[in-house]
């Protein structure tokens, strides 16, 4: 009788243990599946990041090609037409002298337009930018904007510029250019201060304007905030970071920090 009881107890305990084992096995399998899912999700994110990076690189390449083409067109076509117009004006002045300063004023206007167009062509041409240092490219851009008289940009450079790879230099310059464009278009600023610091391993660029300011998080979430998003994405593309600090009524600071490649 005792033996039968022992067998029953043994069977009941064995069934409980087996059921428990199955329960625990089920939980372990869920853990395993969950971990696998996590790994796959990380891989997908990595693939997406790589894809986004490649996409951005392609976009930038296309943009640069477009800029180069526009620059070439301005230089070879519009520039030539304006030069021809200036020459034709000279011939006209010789054949039919006109009293007053009218012709020379027109000539002056054409010269001014040619200078402006040449500067725009220079700032658009990636080949030309690659010939200059980053500081020189930014200084040239500042001169071009200051000439318009809409805004006053000042710049300070600290440290000595190290050799920056052409691609990285171009991207950083385009970020600065985008920053200037945003200020001109939206900031209603009268003064802009640019600070470029070359450090051992990093380049810090800070652009401060005294404009109306805004709420960066809000703008970044909007579709219209594409310019700002481009700056942030470009910074990430060259292994750096960009930060926008702003508040309504308190101006805006764009901080760009890029590591030497």
């Amino acid at each position: 009788m005792q033996d039968t009881k022992d067998q029953v107890i043994f069977t009941i305990v064995a069934v409980i243990i087996i059921l428990l084992f199955l329960g625990v096995l089920f939980l372990v399998m869920l853990f395993y599946y969950n971990n696998k899912k996590g790994q796959m999700s990380k891989e997908q994110q990595l693939m997406k990041a790589t894809f986004d990076k490649q996409l951005l690189e392609s976009k930038l390449e296309i943009q640069e090609q477009t800029f180069d083409m526009i620059s070439q067109e301005i230089h070879d076509n519009v520039g030539q037409i304006l030069s021809l117009a200036k020459v034709q004006l000279g011939i006209l002045e010789q054949r039919h002298p006109i009293e007053g300063d009218l012709v020379s004023n027109v000539k002056e206007s054409i010269s001014q337009a040619m200078t402006e167009l040449r500067d725009i062509a220079k700032s658009l041409s990636s080949e030309r930018l690659q010939l200059l240092s980053l500081s020189d490219s930014i200084a040239q851009e500042i001169r071009r904007i200051n000439r318009s008289g809409f805004i006053k940009i000042t710049a300070q450079v600290e440290g000595v510029e190290r050799n920056i790879p052409d691609q990285q230099k171009l991207i950083v310059f385009r970020m600065v250019q985008e920053g200037f464009q945003n200020i001109i278009k939206h900031a209603e600023a009268s003064e802009v201060n640019v600070s470029i610091r070359y450090q051992e391993e990093w380049i810090h660029i800070s652009i401060f304007d005294n404009g109306i300011g805004f709420e960066p998080e809000k703008e970044l979430n909007k579709r219209e905030g594409l310019g700002l998003q481009h700056i942030l994405r470009r910074a990430a593309l060259v292994g750096g970071k960009a930060n926008i600090v702003s508040r309504p009524g308190e101006g805006t600071t764009l901080e760009i920090q890029i590591a030497y490649a």
Partner: protein, 217 residues
């Protein structure tokens, strides 16, 4: 009044549930408070039933099955994240189970015997629902879950393990008692169930605290 040691864990879980009221509300688990109140009252009355002069506390536990089962089904429904027709199927199954439990109580096993049929049915449903809930939690969420910090995982794991053990121990309850199946002069379910209860209700406590710490799901 006698209080068994595992009842302290049940009382603690009720207190923790009340303390974590907001967390439970945000996790749609507020029904745990009435559920634990029913559990605690049943255990207190069940263990001290002999003071009333009556033999056997089966009516108390049979009533517990009648009252607690709808609350449990409601909690299970909340943890399954039911959508559209799923909830219709789920609540139809629950209703059928409840009808069987009530039929068993009133017409088959009655009040004076322990309603093992009802208990086995409820435990099977508990195992199925908690298993489904765990699968759903793992499969449906796009991101990797940190199970250790997921209250639903803890609650369902506890339900699952408790269901698997009680299915055997309480399903065979009458047989165990009648044949004096004992280990160290204690009936089998007196050996196993208190420890299981302590583990399960500690697990609930932890889950409730997790609900409180991660209020927004």
């Amino acid at each position: 009044m006698h209080v068994a040691w595992f009842q302290y864990f049940q009382m603690l879980s009720l207190l923790v549930a009340i303390y974590c009221y907001r967390g439970l509300r945000n996790c749609s688990l507020l029904a745990f408070i009435p559920y634990l109140i029913i559990v605690n009252i049943t255990e207190v009355v069940g263990i001290n039933f002999h003071f009333t002069g009556r033999e056997g506390n089966y009516p108390v536990y049979n009533l517990y099955l009648l009252v607690s089962t709808p609350v449990y089904f409601y909690i299970a429904g909340k943890m399954l994240f039911l959508r559209g027709k799923e909830s219709v199927v789920f609540y139809t199954v629950c209703l059928l189970c409840l009808i069987l439990v009530y039929v068993n109580f009133f017409f088959i096993q009655g009040m004076s015997r322990f309603d093992t049929f009802s208990l086995v049915l409820i435990e099977i449903m508990t195992i199925v629902f908690s298993g489904l809930s765990l699968v759903r939690l793992t499969v449906l969420d796009q991101n990797e879950l940190n199970f250790m910090r997921e209250p639903f995982f803890w609650i369902n794991s506890m339900y699952l393990l408790f269901g698997l053990i009680t299915l055997v121990v309480l399903g065979l309850q009458e047989y165990i008692l009648f044949n004096h199946i004992e280990i160290a002069h204690k009936t089998l379910y007196n050996v196993i169930l208190p420890t299981v209860n302590a583990i399960v209700y500690s697990g609930y406590c932890y889950a409730f605290i997790l609900c409180r710490t991660q209020r927004t799901r």
